[in-house]
């Protein structure tokens, strides 16, 4: 069961899109998983043939539990797609590490994934009961000494999963409550573990808005670009210049990310948030980013995201939009180390060449993880971002 967002500790299989024996290409969707927050399409990290399905439809398992086995040319028998570290740097997709936090984030941290063929520790009675009731011991979490599986563990595992048919989505109320609790645990962890620092700068958007209006006048309506796309691109380029803000804090150290995948914080109509990643944002054109933005926001709101999108962000952006508050001091999404907030665009008095004029401006804040960077580097990052927005034609 892959980790699909920092705030997930278990997932339920809603649907298998592939059957045993089916060939699978890398990146192909193999299953649909309910994470409490959303239904996510899980993509395979590796090509191969689906050899076994280990978790059935309707079953809920902790993050890190193998859900299927994919036999590939090189990695025969490797548990996949869930716990296999991706070849690409998507560290958020790994099972959670033993926390640096003083106490575990969830009361039942997932057991380490078992490798196929590894001996399962279980009492003889537990084995007999398991055989009688058809329980697969490799999927049972042991609570006895050294993780030994006891009869009670087997009994618990044998209880059929929630009888909700996979096709009927959870009522909105339940979904909203589950999302609230998932956000709560991620934000508790963030404020407990991350020493935040905050800095901000005001960016004059007069040039950027003028340029955008000229561009949009030439574009058909469906291809027009919103200021948000400029913000994403400027942020991504600035993150490339100041790499200590782009990556993860893991096991007491900073791990820089290879690409810049901007986690876009999307608010949902019935409450709650999702943070899908706009992948390789620094390498895309504004038109490509705008198309990605529209696509990903629409799918986030429809609850149709893919695993590579919900897990891969390396830095986050929250944009309060043209009706929101003037500025935001955000909470970093662990294990990331920075969150950039864009407030509402407002006309402000600005001194230009010794004269005061009125220009559209946006206040941009940086919430930085003080373990990974200092305010000085954070300031360099904001300066780079502001500079990029002064040259919109180069974005």
């Amino acid at each position: 069961m892959p980790l699909l967002g920092a705030d997930m500790d278990r997932g339920k299989i809603l649907e298998w899109r592939k059957q045993v024996g089916d060939p699978i290409a890398r990146g192909e969707i193999v299953a649909l998983v309910d994470t409490d927050k959303a239904e996510i399409e899980v993509e395979s990290f590796t090509p191969g043939v689906l050899e076994a399905i280990l978790v059935g439809v309707g079953e809920t398992v902790p993050v890190g539990t193998p859900i299927a086995r994919i036999a590939g040319a090189e990695a025969r028998g490797a548990p996949a797609p869930a716990p296999t570290p991706a070849p690409a740097p998507t560290p958020a997709a790994l099972p959670p590490k033993p926390a640096v936090a003083p106490k575990p984030v969830s009361p039942l941290p997932p057991s380490p994934p078992r490798i196929a063929g590894e001996r399962v520790r279980a009492s003889p009675l537990a084995r007999r009961v398991a055989a009688e009731r058809g329980v697969d011991l490799t999927r049972v979490r042991g609570t006895g000494t050294d993780g030994t599986i006891t009869r009670d563990d087997v009994e618990r595992a044998a209880v059929p999963a929630a009888p909700t048919p996979a096709t009927s989505p959870a009522p909105v109320r339940d979904r909203a409550a589950a999302m609230r609790s998932a956000i709560a645990s991620a934000m508790e962890r963030a404020n407990r573990e991350i020493p935040h620092y905050y800095i901000e700068t005001r960016v004059d958007l007069a040039r950027a808005q003028r340029w955008l209006a000229e561009q949009n006048a030439m574009r058909p309506i469906a291809e027009r670009i919103l200021p948000a796309a400029l913000f994403v691109k400027a942020l991504a380029l600035a993150a490339r210049e100041v790499p200590e803000l782009n990556g993860f804090w893991r096991d007491g150290g900073f791990v820089p990310a290879d690409g810049v995948h901007v986690g876009l914080i999307v608010s949902l109509r019935h409450g709650g948030l999702l943070a899908p990643a706009l992948r390789d944002a620094s390498d895309k054109t504004l038109a490509e980013l705008m198309a990605d933005l529209r696509d990903v926001v629409a799918r986030a709101r429809a609850g149709k995201l893919r695993s590579s999108e919900v897990a891969g962000a390396t830095i986050s952006l929250t944009n309060l939009g043209d009706q929101g508050a003037e500025r935001v001091y955000g909470v970093i999404m662990p294990p990331q180390v920075a969150l950039v907030g864009f407030g509402r665009v407002l006309d402000q008095p600005v001194a230009v060449d010794g004269l005061v004029g009125v220009h559209p401006c946006v206040d941009v804040t940086l919430a930085g993880d003080h373990r990974a960077s200092d305010g000085h580097r954070g300031g360099r990052f904001l300066a780079a971002l502001a500079r990029r927005l002064q040259a919109p034609e180069q974005l």
Binding site: N216, I221, R269
Partner: protein, 80 residues
């Protein structure tokens, strides 16, 4: 297209973007975005949907003239 037809189209697109909206309670003479929680992406999608169903071109420079439902429907009626 008649104003009634245009109104139906606008509500159809709006309900795809904001399913919680009840058309009966919206005031046509008040700014739409004061009554419905629409961000700039939602507003763009509303205009894209209306354009696709009516064929009316809506330049970005005209967006400020389309703040209320009455203004939007009148704008479309003049051009469709």
């Amino acid at each position: 297209m008649t104003a009634a037809q245009l109104r139906a189209i606008v509500f159809e697109v709006l309900s795809e973007i904001a399913p919680e909206v009840e058309p009966g309670v919206l005031r046509g003479d008040q700014p739409l975005r004061d009554q419905v929680d629409l961000d700039s992406m939602d507003f763009l999608n509303l205009l894209v949907g209306v354009h696709q169903r009516t064929g009316v071109e809506i330049p970005e420079a005209d967006y400020p003239k389309l703040a209320t439902l009455d203004q939007l429907i009148a704008y479309l009626a003049q051009r469709s």
